[in-house]
């Protein structure tokens, strides 16, 4: 039984106040030399791991830099965990970790010295910073190489050292800008595993900017696609996939014509995509079980049944075609 509107309002009042969004974009715009880079971004991002996607020049890195306080917004603002990025820049910086895209180091330092310094700059006392520097380097897999000078590190090791400096102070939000850039497949897998571990620990939210859709698909639960400085799509990947669960791909053996006419009787829309291949849309009330029963009745073998779901690539390409997505 539905409650009257007034009663619903009362119930809502009694509910605990929800946590502030991880990132709340409030009409954020950034221009360089009069050229708009980000244009009125709006929306609240709440995912555990948010993938930031977009073609080159879409404004991904500028968005991260603006959230980190490197660039002043020309209009609007944004909030991170409820703190304004302009008014409370220091509080925000104490909560975030940043792994830059480019090589960024302090010269002539061993990894442990470098990570320790970064920890101290984040406010950790020297002893705690040293202890956590060791832990962070072991965590990312550089334990054995932690006393080596950073300039002797391979590209993969440098990426891991950058991750270690980003997590040494245990941030609540981690910005990772192209973390798998230039990594060979084993190193990439290791990086992805680490990112997923951090995400699954539940102790930090992640914003991952990457050109590699696969990386984002493997690590993120939400995606924000930018196009020409505007939000093209912001969606929850899992929900997006769920919404496509009515589309099925079938591969059959037997009398396909009989099976197709039976499907028509069941009220399903279908398309024959090849020999023994069908694409169908389940109508309301029709379950996968019904398809198996139908196949048994018509003596048709179902060799393969899979959900046709939009891959991230599909979502990305659609966003690039359509322009503005929904929030």
């Amino acid at each position: 039984m539905a409650l009257p509107a007034s009663a619903q309002q009362e119930l809502i009042k009694d509910l605990p106040v929800t946590d502030p969004a991880v990132i709340d974009l409030l009409g954020l715009s950034v221009s360089f030399g009069g050229r708009p880079i980000l244009q009125g971004l709006r929306g609240d991002l709440r995912g555990k791991a948010i993938g930031l996607l977009g073609p080159n020049g879409a404004g991904k890195t500028t968005l991260i830099h603006t959230l980190l306080g490197f660039h002043e917004p020309t209009a609007g603002t944004a909030q991170i965990f409820g703190h304004d990025i302009v008014d409370h820049a220091k509080q925000i910086k104490a909560l975030v970790g940043y792994m830059p895209e480019r090589d960024s180091f302090i010269a002539k330092m061993s990894a442990v010295h470098f990570v320790r310094l970064m920890g101290e700059l984040s406010g950790l006392p020297p002893e705690a910073a040293l202890e956590r520097a060791h832990e962070a380097l072991f965590y990312v897999g550089l334990g054995e190489a932690r006393y080596r000078k950073l300039q002797t590190y391979s590209l993969g090791m440098k990426q891991l050292a950058k991750l270690a400096q980003a997590i040494v102070h245990g941030p609540k939000l981690l910005f990772l800008d192209e973390p798998t850039n230039g990594l060979d497949p084993p190193a990439r897998l290791r990086m992805i595993k680490l990112i997923r571990e951090i995400r699954d620990s539940g102790q930090a939210h992640i914003v991952l900017s990457s050109h590699l859709l696969l990386d984002v698909e493997e690590c993120c639960d939400e995606i924000l696609i930018l196009r020409e400085g505007r939000i093209a799509v912001y969606c929850n990947l899992e929900e997006e996939r769920k919404s496509n669960r009515k589309f099925l791909m079938l591969e059959t053996r037997g009398d396909q014509a009989k099976f197709v006419s039976a499907l028509k009787e069941l009220g399903c829309e279908y398309a024959i995509t090849g020999d023994h291949r069908l694409k169908i849309v389940l109508q309301g009330g029709v379950e996968v079980r019904d398809l198996y029963q139908l196949a048994a009745r018509e003596q048709v073998q179902l060799r393969r049944l899979s959900y046709k779901r939009d891959s991230l690539e599909d979502i990305f390409l659609k966003a690039m075609e359509n322009g503005h997505g929904s929030l």
Partner: protein, 305 residues
Amino acid sequence: MAVYEQTYKRYAGPLTPEWSRFLIIPRHAYRGVFKSKIFTAFFVLCFVPLLIEAILIYLHHNVNALGTMRLQIQELIPIDATFFQFFVNLQGAFAFFVALLVGPPLVSQDLRNNALPLYLCRPFSRTEYVVGKMSVLLILLSTITWIPQLLLFFLQSYLEGFTWFRTNLWLASAIVIGSVVWILLLALISQTVSALVKWRVVASGAILGLFFIPSVFGEFINVVFLTRLGNLVSIAALMKNISSGLFGTFVQTTGSFRIESFDGTVRDIILNEPPLWSSWTVVFGICVVCLAILSRKVKAYEVVK
């Protein structure tokens, strides 16, 4: 916690006070600075004149020592403003070479290695970064300039008595202000050059050039135009005037001579040093320019417009 517990965890312990974080930079920088044995040896050498100064002060008050060395007190340099000014200027020269060795890589290394985003993505502002980098030099140079000079002033006061201390208290302020202005100028100029030039050798050359080329140019102006206004472009001359002003030894008129033209007319030329306020103004102007350049260069990312 043991290092084998490899899970991601947030830090929940105490944090250092925000105001003290700029000191992290010099603490870590000195590790690298004192790794060089040549620099360490030179730094130790910087204390030799201070030792001599201490010995001279001690000799003035120890009759036995004078007797052993068969010296009369009149033969020693008197301990007055000129005495302290001489040693302050001498230590200033040593400070210049220390700044030349330590200053150039301070910011340039961070710019070359894109380290600025790593500093500035933390609760650490651009101002704290600049102050932190400057304090690398300021602390180091203080240990060879005003701190030991002040201690020697107190030694002299202790040996000479309270009356001398009371009468010459202004000398203490001259020592501190003169040294602090000099090391501040050195720190600012070397940091600014370091922020503009990414290569250490070039930066060292540029700092040397900034001090010596204007001096030569200023002297050229002085000679050609028969003036002392050329001293306003020479950092060394500016500091000499400021130091003289602080120690009460500043002389406005430094020379006069008579010249005869081809037509037989005779002219008296009086060489007047630029007024003290103009020297202070130029030094202040240099500091402002340095700060403006640093504020422009010390950024996480340079925006290409």
